[in-house]
Amino acid sequence: MNGKILNKKWFTLFLLPALTLYLIFVLLPIVWASIYSLQDWDGIGAMNFICLQNYFKLFTDDPIFWQALVNTLVLMGISLVLIPAGLIMAIWLNTKIMLKSFFKTVIFLPLVMPSVVLGILWAQIYNPISGLLNSALVAFGLPHLQRAWLGEPETALLAILVVVLWQSIGFYVIVYLAGLQNIPEEMIEAAKIDGATDSVITLQIIIPLLSNLIKFTLIFNIITSLKYFDLVFIMTRGQPDHASEVVATHMYNQAFDLYNYGYASAIAFTLFMACVFLSFVLNRVFRRYEY
């Protein structure tokens, strides 16, 4: 009995710092965000309770939000390519190949780099006057293709997306490589002796064995794209004319440029609920197909 009481005391003591900080600086803000989202509030004056009006406005009367949502879905759709691309790279890097560790280092490097640095660097590459890309086009005799890549609505989002893919592919390769290393080599060798071609091995052995990891990366990819913020914010802030706006940058602008704290909280909370809901649903759906 004594031991149990003692245990309880120590349990509390050991958990106290982590739990206190987590409650005050992570969970409490979520609760507050939901409360703010029901107010008309500029962050300074008095709060004005307006029930669900922010949410009505968001879904019925905010063309920028819809534009941002479409862009977010474009980002989500295109970044799905990371799954097959990452898988192929991982399979290649899992064979005996020259310069393997060099390739790995190079592919993983952008993943650990600060987004601010990558964003500023690529903004220089895309720079219409002194940028690498435009001067390369001139050098290759294609001067008519020159553009202000981040300054024109047709190209801004795609130009950012290239950088997003380049930065994130390392993560997928890391996860798949970890999975591939758990597949016994004898299994692959045996299949080869039986005459299986590389594509048969990939489709019938590797992909089924990695199916749980692939599902995980799919959910991860969808959620990450939904809440994507960093490079868009750094490179264009959603401009020109909201052509590269995503939901998260829209929320930022509403909060910290226009001081619509209540409205921005509604966007933030909607995004949070969408993430929770999607990961719950996707997990359920995938569990049904588990075998």
């Binding site: 710092p17 987590y22 969970l27 609760v31 640095v117 380049w166 970890a178 995980f216």
Partner: protein
């Protein structure tokens, strides 16, 4: 055999493409503004390091660098210590709430950072921490708890209980057992957690942008964004500042690549 050569060639091409921006950044950091402007593809005429001096002194990057180093180190030490303690509590000092509380921490893995941004801003203002480094360090530690605790808890679960039970029976307090026996045993994971959190705190920019106003208190990432806005055409110094910002990360990455990738994979597979 031919197939292997094709694969090698594709990977080589991708790697060169991928390294190219970094190479260009380093070369440009030794050029003059005029050279960058006129001939972005050329090599620097001479390796003049004046851009680095400009960024370091005029651009205030010496200050940003010191701020980044100490904010990151304090946050990471706090993050590792508190998550180790929590991992120990969840693994060894069972209580009725143990499982529920652990689930509560896992919930945090799903929360995008900016959902908490506005309320956090208000909370920090009310605490009087706005525009101080506490406004960065404390939320960094708090936000790191879910993933850190997940990794530490799994490690504690893998250590046989009899090691520390014997010490408890011999009369050692849980704190002593934790500090003298289990902390050393879990050091490899603690180092992984340390490095992963170091990278993410070092790279963080949004909190600094919103919670810090005083230029002297900014970190490298926020400093870069301010510098870009202020000296819009001083590209040469901007490139030098970019290089300064990534040097610590590049060193850590090259030395610790294995631990970093294993840690990321473990975090992904367990969640």
């Amino acid at each position: 055999m031919i197939k292997r050569k094709i694969i090698f060639f594709i990977l080589l091409l991708y790697s060169l493409f991928s390294l190219f921006p970094f190479g260009w950044m380093v070369l440009s950091s030794f050029k003059t503004d005029l050279q960058i402007f006129i001939s972005p593809w050329s090599l620097p005429e001479s390796f003049n390091y004046i851009n680095y001096i400009n960024a370091w002194i005029k651009g205030n990057f010496s200050r940003y660098f010191i701020n980044s180093v100490y904010i990151t180190l304090i946050s990471v030490m706090g993050g590792v210590l508190f998550s180790s303690m929590a991992g120990y509590a969840f693994s060894r000092l069972r209580s009725k709430l143990s499982n529920n509380l652990r689930q509560l921490f896992l919930l945090g893995l799903m929360i995008p950072g900016y959902v908490t941004l506005i309320p956090l801003f208000i909370i920090l203002k009310n605490l009087g921490w706005y525009d101080t480094h506490l406004a960065l360090i404390i939320p960094y530690i708090a936000g790191s708890m879910p993933i850190n605790i997940m990794l530490m808890y799994a490690t504690y679960q893998n250590i046989p209980q009899d090691i520390d039970e014997a010490a408890i029976i011999d009369g050692a307090s849980p704190w002593r057992v934790f500090w003298m026996i289990l902390m050393p045993l879990t050091r490899p994971t603690a180092i992984t957690v340390f490095i992963l959190m170091f990278i993410s705190v070092w790279n963080e920019f949004l909190n600094v942008l919103i919670f810090i106003n005083n230029p002297a208190l900014k970190t490298l990432q926020a400093g870069l964004m301010a510098f870009r806005g202020q000296y819009q055409t001083d590209y040469a110094s901007l490139f030098a500042a970019l290089v300064i910002t990534i040097i610590p990360i590049v060193i850590i990455f090259i030395v610790m690549q294995d631990k970093i990738t294993k840690g990321m994979a473990a975090g992904a597979i367990k969640s």
